[in-house]
């Protein structure tokens, strides 16, 4: 099945800093999503982005499907951005499932 990798595994930022999180996937995809898991464990949808670029406030994401990677940009980080960021991908081939990467744990310090 499809493999999903994320980097870096951990990231510590000072409030106000910018960051880029990366997601690599091993096969062509129908679906690529970014989630934020907050400290209470809730999975929050950030972007549905199988290709192209999207922006939502201080967050933006870009997926280059032909090169099999996606990037999540966080600008002017806030303490409420802390948590774990997951990307998940659904492979294009028959029988593949929606697979999560291991996550990037982000800590934003005041």
């Amino acid at each position: 099945g499809i493999q999903v990798e994320q980097s870096p595994p951990d990231l510590i930022l000072q409030e106000g800093a910018n960051s880029t999180l990366r997601c690599n996937f091993s096969d062509s995809v129908n679906n690529l999503q970014w989630f934020h898991q907050n400290p209470w464990g809730q999975l929050i949808n950030l972007f549905y982005i199988p290709s192209g670029t999207k922006q939502n406030g201080r967050l933006s994401a870009t997926t280059v499907a032909t090169e099999r990677y996606s990037l999540l940009y966080i600008s002017s980080s806030q303490t409420t951005d802390s948590g774990v960021y997951f990307c998940a991908a659904h492979g294009d081939n028959y029988g593949q499932n929606f697979v999560f990467g291991p996550g990037t744990r982000l800590s934003v310090l005041p």
Partner: protein, 113 residues
């Protein structure tokens, strides 16, 4: 927010007892999924359903069964709970399966003692 309700939200049970977790949706989405989340393993797919009475296995299906008798409900059953099934369980839904956005419930924390 997507209309997904998981119940119970927390449960402690003893080894060897049966346990059923429920996922209820109000979105009329065709696809429903059960994942478990464990430290060091991320989220892994247990079972999924692509319609009423249509289910299939995921990556970590051993020890679990599922049923979907109505579009809105997807049940996950641990026939005889073991300590290795202590985990946080998430239900997800999507309208069209692999090409559609997936939405997750709040999760159920299950502890098997």
């Amino acid at each position: 927010d997507a209309g997904i309700t998981q119940s119970p939200r927390h449960k402690v049970t003893e080894t060897g007892t049966p346990v059923t977790l429920r996922c209820h949706q109000t979105e009329n989405h065709r696809y429903m999924y059960w994942y478990r989340q464990d430290p060091g393993h991320g989220l892994r797919l247990i079972h999924y359903s692509y319609g009423v009475k249509d289910t299939d296995k995921g990556e970590v299906s051993d020890g679990y069964s599922v049923s979907r008798s109505k579009t809105e409900d997807f049940l996950l059953t641990l026939e005889s709970a073991t300590s290795s099934q202590t985990s946080v369980y998430f239900c997800a839904i999507s309208e069209q399966g692999k090409s559609a956005e997936a939405f997750f419930g709040q999760g159920t924390r299950l502890t098997v003692v």
